[in-house]
C-alpha cells in the first residue's frame, strides 16, 4: 500500500519534472510565438482600465500617473479606479486626479461583499467597452503597455490576455531578489512556453485584460472565488475562449519584502488555486473543445499547488519505507533529483537559469543556490494551506461559501516612486528605486 502510494508520488514528480524540462527546452530552442506583438497600426478600440484599490494611498498615484501618460488614444480610454472601502487617503488622491483628468471616472465602493472579485463585479456595471484591462494599484505600466495588452483582442478567439510582471523593488532585500528570479522563471519560461505550445497560459488578474462579452458569457466575475484569476482562466477555457500571454507587455510590480508577507501571499494563492482545482478539474478533463495537450496542461496547471504536499508526502514515505526495509531502489534518487523541479508556479532552478539567460542578466544568476530557501518556504506554505483546507474539510470553504476578505499583499512602498506623481507632468522613474 505504502509502496504503491510512493510509486504514485514518484510518477507525479516525474510528470511535473518532465513538464518543466519540456517548457525550458522549448523556451531555449523552440519556435517562439509572439503573434500579436507586431500590431502597431489599428483601429484601436475603446477600453476601460480598472484599478483595484483597497487602502492604496502609497501607490495609487503612481499607476494613475503612468496610465494617463500611456501611449493610447485618450478619447478611447476610461480609467476607473475601483476604490473598495478604503479607510486611508486613497479616495482623496483618486478624486484629485479625477478633477484634473476627465478620463478618470472613480468608483468608490462603500458596501457589498468584500474581495477583489466582488469589487470588480460591481465595477463592471460602469464598463461600457468591450475590452477591459485590469491592474492592481501597485503596478506601474509602461507607455506602450496598454496597446500591447489590447492587441490580442483583435483575435476573435481571445477572451483574456496576461502580461509579464517585473519586480520593481528588486534591490531592497534578499527576498525580493529571490522573488525576482522566481518571477522571471515563471513568466519568461513557464508562461511563454505555454504560449509557444498552444497550451494554457494563465490569466493572472493584473497586467491583464478580458473581453467583456466573454466575461458576460461565462457569468461575470465569480465573487466566491479565492483566486478570481485562476477561476476566470478555467471558465474561459471551458467555454471555448483562449487566454494568451504577452511576454513583451511588461509591467513593474512591488514584490513582498518580508517573509511573513510572502508566506501569506503564497498561502492565499495556493488556497485559491486549490479551490479552482476542485471546481474545474472534472470539467476540464471532460471538455470536448480542448485538444489533448491543452487538456493535459490545463489539468497539470490545476494541480501545481498540490505538488507541495505530494512532495512532502513522498519524502515521509521514503523515510518510512527505508526504515521498514522496503526496496525503494532508484525511487529515492528520483525523489531527490526531481523534487526541486516539480513545484509549478515556483519555477524550477533550471527554468530560473534559462530565464536569467533570456533576460540577459548575468550576475543575478549567482543567487541560484539560494532559491532553495524560497523553495522550502513555498513548499511548507502551500502544504500548510492545503492541509488547512483539508482539515477544515468544509465544502463551504473549498467552494467559497465562507466570508471573503480583501486579502491583499502588504505594500512596502510608502510614497509614490514616479516624480511629481500627483501633478500632471511626464513621470520619470527615480533611479534610487
Amino acid at each position: 500500500m505504502l509502496m504503491d502510494l510512493f510509486c504514485l508520488v514518484l510518477l507525479l514528480i516525474c510528470i511535473y519534472t518532465f513538464r518543466h524540462y519540456y517548457f525550458t527546452f522549448n523556451r531555449l530552442f523552440g519556435k517562439q510565438r509572439h503573434p500579436y506583438v507586431d500590431l502597431e497600426s489599428a483601429a484601436w478600440p475603446e477600453i476601460t482600465v480598472l484599478i483595484a484599490a483597497h487602502n492604496e494611498e502609497a501607490v495609487v498615484a503612481d499607476i494613475m500617473k503612468a496610465l494617463i501618460e500611456a501611449d493610447y488614444p485618450k478619447e478611447k480610454m476610461t480609467i476607473i479606479p475601483v476604490n473598495d472601502r478604503s479607510t486611508d487617503r486613497t479616495r482623496e488622491i483618486i478624486d484629485a486626479f479625477a478633477e484634473q483628468h476627465p478620463l478618470i471616472e472613480p468608483f468608490h465602493r462603500v458596501g457589498g461583499k468584500p474581495g477583489k472579485a466582488a469589487a470588480l463585479k460591481d465595477a463592471m456595471t460602469l464598463v461600457k467597452t468591450e475590452v477591459v484591462l485590469i491592474f492592481d494599484a501597485d503596478y506601474i505600466p509602461g507607455k506602450a503597455l496598454l496597446r500591447q495588452l489590447v492587441a490580442p483582442f483583435f483575435d476573435p478567439e481571445i477572451g483574456a490576455v496576461m502580461g509579464r510582471v517585473v519586480p520593481l523593488n528588486v534591490g531592497k532585500k534578499s527576498l525580493t531578489r529571490l522573488l525576482d528570479l522566481e518571477r522571471s522563471g515563471g513568466y519568461q519560461v513557464d508562461q511563454q512556453a505555454r504560449m509557444n505550445l498552444h497550451l494554457v497560459p494563465q490569466y493572472g488578474g493584473t497586467v491583464a485584460g478580458v473581453r467583456k462579452s466573454a466575461l458576460e458569457e461565462i457569468g461575470g466575475w465569480n465573487e466566491n472565488a479565492l483566486a478570481e484569476d485562476t477561476d476566470l482562466t478555467y471558465r474561459l477555457l471551458i467555454a471555448g475562449w483562449k487566454t494568451v500571454y504577452e511576454n513583451r507587455a511588461e509591467c513593474y510590480e512591488e514584490v513582498p519584502e518580508r517573509w511573513p508577507v510572502r508566506v501569506r501571499q503564497i498561502t492565499r494563492w495556493a488556497k485559491g488555486h486549490n479551490q479552482a482545482m476542485v471546481s474545474y478539474i472534472g470539467r476540464t478533463a471532460k471538455c470536448s473543445g480542448l485538444g489533448w495537450f491543452e487538456r493535459i496542461d490545463g489539468l497539470l496547471l490545476l494541480g501545481v499547488y498540490l505538488m507541495g504536499p505530494v512532495l512532502l508526502l513522498g519524502w515521509v514515505l521514503a523515510v518510512v519505507l527505508f526504515y521498514t526495509g522496503a526496496q525503494i531502489g532508484g525511487g529515492l534518487t528520483v525523489l531527490a533529483l526531481g523534487a526541486f523541479t516539480t513545484l509549478g508556479n515556483f519555477a524550477a532552478f533550471f527554468e530560473i537559469a534559462a530565464a536569467a539567460r533570456l533576460d540577459g542578466s548575468r550576475q543575478r544568476i549567482r543567487l541560484l543556490p539560494l532559491t532553495l530557501f524560497g523553495f522550502t518556504v513555498s513548499l511548507i506554505s502551500v502544504s500548510h494551506a492545503a492541509w488547512q483546507q483539508v482539515r477544515e474539510n468544509t465544502y463551504g470553504n473549498l467552494f467559497g461559501n465562507h466570508e471573503l476578505v480583501w486579502d491583499k499583499t502588504e505594500r512596502s512602498r510608502t510614497a509614490p516612486v514616479l516624480d511629481d506623481a500627483l501633478s500632471p507632468t511626464v513621470p520619470v522613474l527615480r533611479e534610487s528605486v
Binding site: P35, F154, P167
Partner: protein, 367 residues
C-alpha cells in the same frame, strides 16, 4: 584514528557545502545586478530612431545654416561623435572626407553617387537620392527619398515626404514615410509604415490612385448593411455584438455570400470569390481570401494567408507564417490604417496598403 581526522573531515565538508553558495553570498554582498529588469518604456513608434537622430542633431542647426550660406563642408563634435556638416549639393561622399564620421548632416539635396557605400547615418534637409547599387547605413530625409535600382539601406530609413524604392532596392530594418512609400518590382523590406504603401510596376507610379475606392467600399449594399446597423465600415469589431462561429475543421464561405459573424476554424478557412465577412476570421491553418472577397474585421492565421486579387481586408492581418498578397488587393484605409504581420510577405504590384507591414524575416515585392 588520527586525532585531527574529524576536524579535517568537518572542514572539508564545510568547504564543499560553502563552495556552491559562495558566488551567491558574494552577489548578495556586492549587489552588482540588483536593479529592476529594464522594461520597454518607449512608445514603440517605428520612426523612433529618426526622431532621436533629429533631436540629437538639433543643436548643430545654426552651424549647418552657416555652412549652407557659405556652401562649404565642416566638421563638428557632439557628445563624442564626429559629424560632417554639408552645406553644398556638390558633395560627392568622398571616402576621405567621411572617414571617422558617424553622421552626415546635409542642409541641401543629398545625391549619393551610384555604387557608393556610406557607413554613417545621413540626415538631409532636402530631397535624397541614392544612386544605383549604392548602400547606406541609415538615413532621415525631411523631403522625398528615392532609392535607385539595387540600392540598399541596412538599418533604417525615414522620410517626412514620399519614399520611392526603384526595382530590386532593399531596406532592411525600419522603413517609414510621412506620406507614402512606393515600391517597385523586386524590392525587399522588413518593417515598413506609412499612411499609404503602394506597390507599383516600374515607371507606373500612378497605379491605384489614392482617391480610387476599393470595390468593397464602393458596393452600395454593404454600405447599406453597415449604415442600417449604425456602424462604420471599419473598426467596429469591438462595438458590434456578433455571434461567434467556432468550426472544428475547415470552414468555407461560399462565393458571393455575406456573413455577419466572427469565424474561428480549427482547420483552413476559405472566403469564396466575392464573398463578404463582416466580422473577423481566425484559422489554425491557412486562410484563403478569394478574388474580390472582403473581410471587415481582422484576419488571424496560424499558417499562411493568401489575399487574392482585388480583395479587401479592413482590419489587421496577422499570420504566423507568410502573407501573400495578389494584385489589386487593399488592406486598411487612409482613415483606418492597420497592420499586416507575418514571418514573410510577398506582395504583387498594384496593391494598396495602409499602415504597417511587418515581415519578420523578409518581405518582397513580386519580381
Amino acid at each position: 584514528m588520527l586525532p585531527w581526522a574529524p576536524l579535517a573531515l568537518t572542514t572539508v565538508t564545510a568547504v564543499l557545502v560553502a563552495l556552491p553558495v559562495t558566488p551567491a553570498l558574494y552577489e548578495l554582498w556586492k549587489r552588482s545586478d540588483a536593479s529592476p529588469l529594464p522594461t520597454s518604456r518607449h512608445d514603440g513608434r517605428i520612426a523612433n530612431f529618426a526622431d532621436v537622430l533629429q533631436t540629437r542633431l538639433e543643436p548643430l542647426r545654426p552651424q549647418l545654416e552657416r555652412c549652407c550660406a557659405e556652401r562649404n563642408v565642416s566638421r563638428a563634435s557632439l557628445a563624442g561623435m564626429e559629424i560632417l556638416l554639408v552645406g553644398t549639393d556638390k558633395f560627392d561622399f568622398d571616402l576621405e572626407q567621411t572617414q571617422g564620421v558617424s553622421t552626415l548632416m546635409i542642409g541641401a539635396e543629398a545625391q549619393i553617387p551610384a555604387g557608393k557605400v556610406v557607413d554613417a547615418d545621413v540626415y538631409a534637409d532636402g530631397p535624397m537620392v541614392l544612386g544605383e547599387k549604392a548602400a547606406l547605413r541609415a538615413a532621415y530625409g525631411c523631403d522625398d527619398i528615392i532609392l535607385g535600382e539595387n540600392s540598399t539601406v541596412l538599418r533604417w530609413l525615414h522620410g517626412d515626404g514620399n519614399i520611392y524604392l526603384r526595382p530590386r532596392s532593399a531596406v532592411y530594418g525600419r522603413l517609414s514615410a510621412g506620406h507614402a512609400i512606393h515600391l517597385e518590382r523586386g524590392c525587399a523590406f522588413q518593417h515598413m509604415h506609412a499612411p499609404e504603401i503602394l506597390t507599383v510596376n516600374s515607371g507606373d507610379t500612378r497605379a491605384l490612385a489614392t482617391s480610387a475606392p476599393h470595390a468593397c467600399e464602393a458596393q452600395k449594399d454593404i454600405k447599406d448593411i453597415e449604415e442600417n446597423a449604425g456602424r462604420a465600415l471599419a473598426g467596429d469589431q469591438f462595438t458590434t455584438s456578433r455571434p461567434r462561429l467556432r468550426v472544428e475543421g475547415d470552414f468555407s464561405l461560399p462565393p458571393g455570400e455575406t456573413l455577419d459573424a466572427n469565424v474561428i476554424a480549427t482547420g483552413e478557412l476559405h472566403i469564396g470569390r466575392g464573398a463578404r465577412l463582416l466580422g473577423s476570421a481566425k484559422s489554425y491553418k491557412d486562410t484563403v481570401i478569394d478574388e474580390g472577397a472582403c473581410v471587415y474585421g481582422s484576419i488571424v492565421c496560424g499558417g499562411t494567408v493568401w489575399l487574392g486579387p482585388r480583395t479587401f481586408a479592413a482590419g489587421p492581418v496577422m499570420a504566423e507564417n507568410d502573407v501573400l498578397i495578389s494584385r489589386g488587393a487593399r488592406v486598411g484605409s487612409l482613415d483606418a490604417p492597420t497592420t499586416i504581420s507575418s514571418t514573410g510577405a510577398n506582395i504583387a504590384a498594384g496593391c494598396r496598403l495602409h499602415g504597417t507591414v511587418w515581415a519578420r524575416v523578409r518581405g518582397n515585392i513580386e519580381a
